[in-house]
Symmetry: C3
Subunit: 266 residues, 3 copies
Amino acid sequence: MFYFRSMELTSVIYEKRGSVAYITLNRPDVFNAFDESQSYDLQAALKEAGKDAEVRVLVLSGAGKAFCSGQDLKAIAGSKNRSLSDSLYKRYNPIIKAMREMPKPIIGRINGVAAGAGASLALACDFIIAVDTASFIEVFVNVGLVPDSGSSYFLPKAISPARAFEMATMAPKVSAEKAMEWGLINRVVSAEVLDEEVSKVADYYANAPTMAIGMIKKMLNKAGHSDLQTMLQYEAYCQEIAGRSNDYREGVTAFNEKRKPAFKGN
Amino acid sequence: MFYFRSMELTSVIYEKRGSVAYITLNRPDVFNAFDESQSYDLQAALKEAGKDAEVRVLVLSGAGKAFCSGQDLKAIAGSKNRSLSDSLYKRYNPIIKAMREMPKPIIGRINGVAAGAGASLALACDFIIAVDTASFIEVFVNVGLVPDSGSSYFLPKAISPARAFEMATMAPKVSAEKAMEWGLINRVVSAEVLDEEVSKVADYYANAPTMAIGMIKKMLNKAGHSDLQTMLQYEAYCQEIAGRSNDYREGVTAFNEKRKPAFKGN
Amino acid sequence: MFYFRSMELTSVIYEKRGSVAYITLNRPDVFNAFDESQSYDLQAALKEAGKDAEVRVLVLSGAGKAFCSGQDLKAIAGSKNRSLSDSLYKRYNPIIKAMREMPKPIIGRINGVAAGAGASLALACDFIIAVDTASFIEVFVNVGLVPDSGSSYFLPKAISPARAFEMATMAPKVSAEKAMEWGLINRVVSAEVLDEEVSKVADYYANAPTMAIGMIKKMLNKAGHSDLQTMLQYEAYCQEIAGRSNDYREGVTAFNEKRKPAFKGN
């Protein structure tokens, strides 16, 4: 396996292998808690993956034992009168928007605890694979805060109001298994096969019709607050574009020739 | 059992028994894949069921082994520069809109595979009964397309974003059992009792307060993108109408007389 | 245990113990069916709990065997040409709006059947604990009516369209266990431990950062019909307020001192 490290960042590792970009939060000593550096590095890594036409799928992960433990409270211990709103507008919201607006699938490799903004980050992924020891905790309320970085949006889309209220106001440790049962995530696997499973999914998306998948992502985003008529029109709009793609031509040809299609992503 | 075949169509069978209209896709040799004929016949059948005041419930099904395998790719093999958008506007979207806007319950009798637009068709039904060998597959992505015919709307209303993304972008074969567990459908039964179960549910709706049920369908449609205040007002509007119906008078009278109500549907 | 009965009402009991307000529907002979008196008493009790700054959490329950059996059909047996819309605007909708707009958590103690408007009342709670013999039934359709008091809003937010349609149009008796599996509620417990479980949850909220929890409630309400961008902005707005609260200061201090925070609710 050859990884090309195309960017040098401080708190995030950005690697590329073929069409797959691997973005790894890299502050393992503090369970990949966000300080300013990690926030801006993650923004830069997402930007790079977005603009690199070769990249057809991203894998977001954490180094060490945790996926991401959210905001580093020690990093802000000294700062008085810090505006949390500013912090969201500058650091966290651009990350979440970049992830949701990027027309490429993002696989969350949840290798351990995902807490606070770390839980939001996990839920902002499109396809979520968790190790069986991972957990999801909306810890904000434990320090008198509200869920941010998109959690207030992601939770009620994925789970019922009763469950969302409990997660957001009681901060229970939701196990990977429970998250799977509730539909928050796509896979739970043992540590031994985590990377194998992530590779399998990444390989699928690396060879999938990327342009169509980018539009599907947008469609599902839009459906969350749209009526049927709006979605039927949007489907027609997207399908017209998909129908003019090389991948569609290849897909139909391969179907008629009874072979596997070779999608180029455009 | 006497069925009255009130319309002669080429690719769809339209039968009426009492207050129940049975609409059956009838191209079993191609697993009821949609060609132009089947699309327009289904539109006509839905129109007929909608305007026939005697019809209080519809049963939508497929002839043979499959429910519906979606667009017939062979039927379009010769057509170059075919506009997929046109096809949706003329053929598929009118079907889905007719189904969702019809103020009568539609039972999906999912007798086998429901793939592509066939999966959308199944999910557009109000009450879904599947045989245990049936499956739901959003096959669009396999030829480089995006889900259409309402699937991008139905999936995220029924299941979580993670599951909807997986179904839409990976086209897994979702078994009837899994669809039941996820809440996509209402019943899974063996082939032996499929028609018995469908009859039971059709009988219920054939004798239910149809006007109220039509309004309930509209209310649940509207709730998907509305806030609480809007829905409380809409509930009051609909309840005022229901409260002036013959069925409400009969319902309260029957309740006080401790007997089963005889609803006429108006 | 000392309860302070601060209001004298006819059909509802209002008690306060510490920061917890206990509101109990008290027409056990008719399974706490709503007549005018119980509707207006519940409005008054909710208003009292809302304006009493000492109250940080509410527990809503029913006296006797049932939680609430909905509208008392006998109470309206004599009234001809009664407007159901008027009844909703004056009696039920203000209850549901007060519950959902109150920036304090409401625990539903579902001690028995919750039917019709009683089911709506249960689903309007934030955290729902049911005894294992309880059930939820949208009985409206049985007398030719449509779900009201918010049920048409709550059902499709909590469960899939297929399940919501079945509950609303067939009025099945949904057991507490099934409601738990579907995510409609948070806990199912035996009768012996119901009050213990309710106390545990009430104690948690009585000592939680109430202002943040009030905002979380608003955020989750809003998320149901909002897009990501709207929610990211609203999160920033709410977090800025939370970040200036005494509870946040206490939360961070306690975290750094490795002790349990003592939240005052402001």
